[in-house]
Point group: D2
Chain length 340, copies 4
């Protein structure tokens, strides 16, 4: 199969990671590269690591420039994908790395993002029960947020097995590429290095309802989520520490996770006693995971490590694209990280 | 007052930070510097940043070398302080940066550390209700662990005010100096940079019972603690994200914290909407803190930032020494961090 | 002596470091804090580490707001100091951390900075032969650039002793705070971490003529300078590797350096075989240095480590202020770094 | 072609990077993985990022365990390869990532490494004039050192074109993986982060004669090398700043480099005015390069960025293997880095 692919938002971090993966994808041909303010400049200015595309010139992000491709990835600020998708036609696979179509509840959308909900699309987290089936043949895909990817994968097997009470506490530490390329003082290197800082505390981060939605569907009832994101001094990586009350033993929990992930190509439950490090996932589409039960606190503790730009964004997007197009799900996606 | 001070374990990170602070302490004279395997070498080999002491030669850690000082700081592996203290006499102020005398419950000691409990000493966290009084005039002080310092200060005001349910979840991210200078593969720079990794998960970290002890005393009942430490790529700093169920409003909680810390010289409750960063505490004895309530999850979320080697170890130790000696509590302790 | 001090440019990195040092200076009282676009905001927003000044409000940078102080530090973009200084009167000590008055040659100024030279002021590098005398009682001081501080101190003793040929090659690696708080894409944390990058290559950096000027004065003839700055992933620190052809032996060179720095309080020639690390200078006004001769290449190699914001900017400025005011030169300046 | 490959030293950084690349190499089958002290343990303990090999068990490094493969990579401390190679037979391709066979001059070997020289092997830097031809069909390959790879590629075109005087000054900044996994105090994360430090200064680093050898061959006369390596806080990457006196113009030099690298698949001369960053080469076999002439100092300045573990070690080794086996030179080697 030969797949011609456009990437909208090619100068940003998500766009760059999509292109890195697509360059290694045996069926992909990289077509139009679009941008906003950077239109007219060489890609090499923004993404010097993508040598084979360095001399490509970015064009404006419009339905016209994106037309004529089999697949269009949108790595844009939220609010723009519905209109673009409508113009691209139903036969084009549109994969939205933004937030517009993740939430299924219009009221939740309006509360967290403002404005009118543009509708939900099949959710690009194939490991979630039922998701893989919905993605096969889909022509619209909503790529999950990076924190929801890590947090949902860390917790859903517990809910699928009925082993956790429906109130979870998640503290997820992230590298700063997750904040994008926006020029904000607190994202300057001199500020970031040496700094650990929480933000969006108290349920203020927009990924909170997305995590709650995912877990509630699996649990079959409302799961409350206390979510705190923390920025740490590394470019990439999310480590999500996720807890919930449980009456189960560690062995029962581990068994449930082993079963849930037995056939998943990208999710790796580590050997007993080994806990994940984000360093092992750099540039890979993998999830390294471990789970146990704290016998005193009576809490299940699951920890998941991902690369926020790969499995957390662009890798998950390509994985879902593969499913939608009928390709083997793992096509072109790295199982090995770059370490140290 | 002229205070002659010995530091045992001067080649390590806690010892180095003690010396940095004592060099700036107007009443302190640095006496013997002792070490284990490094005895006989210049301090400058191990602590090149301590220029004024660079040519001091380390001596063996024995009761003899430590004798003849007004204050002896012990920055040693656990298990050695009781015997040394016994040999030093009751009039010498012994400040133990190790764990030997933190826990009050002998059974807890034996469970977490093994062996027989050497007894508890006044606990060097002056901000904790009742602690300041116990430290005045004390001749034995148990310096808290770094994680318990951050976590206890982040949570006790809620329990003091009766605003939190007695089950807390703490995820604390730390710089790698907290792991000390031990030569372990996972602490190599090439491993640490780019890595976020959880350890001691599921209640396995020895600081868990110390946090529980502190909060339980304040709450007047047993507080369960789910504690997960995470290593991040920075030399210093702890950011503790601490949650507990609450029925209080954010305003009530903030008011309780403002009251608890109104007169504390080192604890700084940040302006509303501002969340702490460890970068602001580097090298300072300060605690930067914020608290709110997640109205959906019904959880109080408190975040505290400290420098693990300063307020989390050596600064807390000097603060307690000041109290024990009758000096102004803030003597010689920096209120300003080094940033960026 | 009681010295009332204003800082213009208090929201930036140099301004913040000046304030950190002045807070610990026994004779200093911090007066007006001024800024450009940040006027009207709390200092705590920009410099959360400076707790004692957190609630001070920044005012506009004008001659009026700066009037009424004994000392005015200018930490501003170049081009503004001459006019402000003229309005402040000759009795006020004006210490310019910018570049306006460093170069003595008007033609060099015009070539490197453009426009008309505003004249040169006494150069705030007390260790340079003759500089200390010129600073005593001065009412105008030009603080050296950070790279020239490290490079000049690494090389001038060789020229003072006639031991080096007048062509030097300097490669200086710097933390990113040296680039200031300007919001540029390549200074984002995600870009900086993991990146080593040269800039201003080929003699394009404005610090080149300043280094050449310093060394030429000492050598008594023109010294050519090949200077390449490199950005590395740390907030603070400069390591300057400086070489020149020599016919001298290592012993001769070391002796010359030992003599040159024998009485310097802030310059520390390390023991033989030990090479400097910037980590030992963090937050200190110190210079750690070593020198040797490569017997095969017949080149002298000197390496100097400083904190670019302390000895490289604000510490050097305060050291020069002390001299100008007749205070002991070391007043208020840290000799110990913060490590690890 | 199906190539069965053993890796000796699979638990170290060079071994890990070899395996990462071989897993993506379409003709390679990973055979025996050997180690020293780690024999008997799972590879996943040491290289958790290499998921597909996680359960492989390391065996002892002996001629027996290495026998039966088409290719044997040796990533061992120096001094062991000659004996192992002799036992493996002449038909096996032995690629030595160590130093044993890099130097052609036995006297130089003895001076820099001690002991008796084991002889030189074809040098695995295909871009060097004549090297590619020597590698085709070779059965023994000496992989260059990481610093010599960057420095030689940065400078040889100038010597090939007769545009540089035969005394060069190289300051090369490196990430800490270049120092390997040895447990040394100065390599601990807490020491490395925030630290820039020079080492092997004054011609003491063993890569100095290797750089001199490479350039002297191209220049046709002895080239003197002043080489200073600097450690910086990042896991991977070398940025080599290389200078030499020249009478040429920038345009002449750029033209010579453009010509030298016109057909090189892995060396990328950046557009005018753009200088390389190591971040663009992470995990790639690429060299990003730029060159100019400082018109005042009359020095050519060339800067090369590589990933020390990829092009600097394992990638260069695989590239040479491809040549030796008659495979397309770029087979299995990434042209794109992982950024940010």
């Amino acid at each position: 199969m030969h797949v011609r692919i456009a990437v909208a938002g090619a100068s940003g971090y998500a766009g760059g990671e999509l292109l890195r993966l697509l360059l290694a994808h045996p069926e992909a041909e990289v077509g139009a590269l679009t941008a906003g303010g950077s239109a007219g400049t060489r890609l090499g200015v923004h993404q010097p690591h993508l040598l084979p595309l360095a001399d490509r010139v970015l064009v404006d992000t419009t339905a016209d420039t994106l037309a004529g491709h089999d697949v269009v990835f949108l790595a844009l600020p939220h609010g723009r994908s519905a209109e673009l998708a409508a113009q691209l036609g139903d036969d084009v696979l549109v994969v939205d790395c933004g937030a517009d179509h993740r939430l299924t509840d219009p009221a939740a959308w309006t509360r967290w993002y403002g404005g009118v909900h543009a509708g939900s699309w099949p959710y690009g987290l194939p490991e979630l029960p039922g998701a893989r089936e919905a993605l096969r043949g889909a022509r619209r895909i909503a790529v999950p947020g990076c924190y929801p990817t890590a947090s949902t994968l860390a917790l859903f097997p517990a809910f699928a097995a009925g082993l956790a009470e429906p109130e979870v506490v998640v503290t997820a530490v992230s590298g700063t590429s997750g904040a994008g390329k926006a020029l904000k003082p607190h994202l300057l290197g001199a500020e970031v290095m040496g700094a650990l800082s929480a933000y969006g505390v108290g349920g203020a981060h927009r990924h909170t309802p997305e995590i709650a939605q995912n877990l509630s569907v699996v649990a079959g009832r409302t799961v409350g989520v206390s979510f705190t994101p923390v920025l740490a001094p590394l470019p990439r990586g999310i480590l999500a520490t996720c807890t919930a009350r449980t009456d189960a033993s560690a062995a029962e929990v581990v068994e449930a996770y082993a079963k849930a992930y037995a056939d998943e190509p990208f999710v790796h439950l580590l050997p007993e006693g080994t806990w994940p490090t984000t360093a092992a996932t750099l540039g890979a589409n993998t999830v390294h995971m471990q789970v146990t039960v704290d016998p005193d606190a009576r809490r299940l503790v699951a920890v998941a490590a991902i690369d926020n730009l790969t499995k957390g964004t662009a890798g998950g997007a390509v994985q879902s694209m593969n499913l939608a197009l009928g390709l083997p799900e793992t096509t072109g996606l790295p199982l090995t990280g770059v370490a140290p």
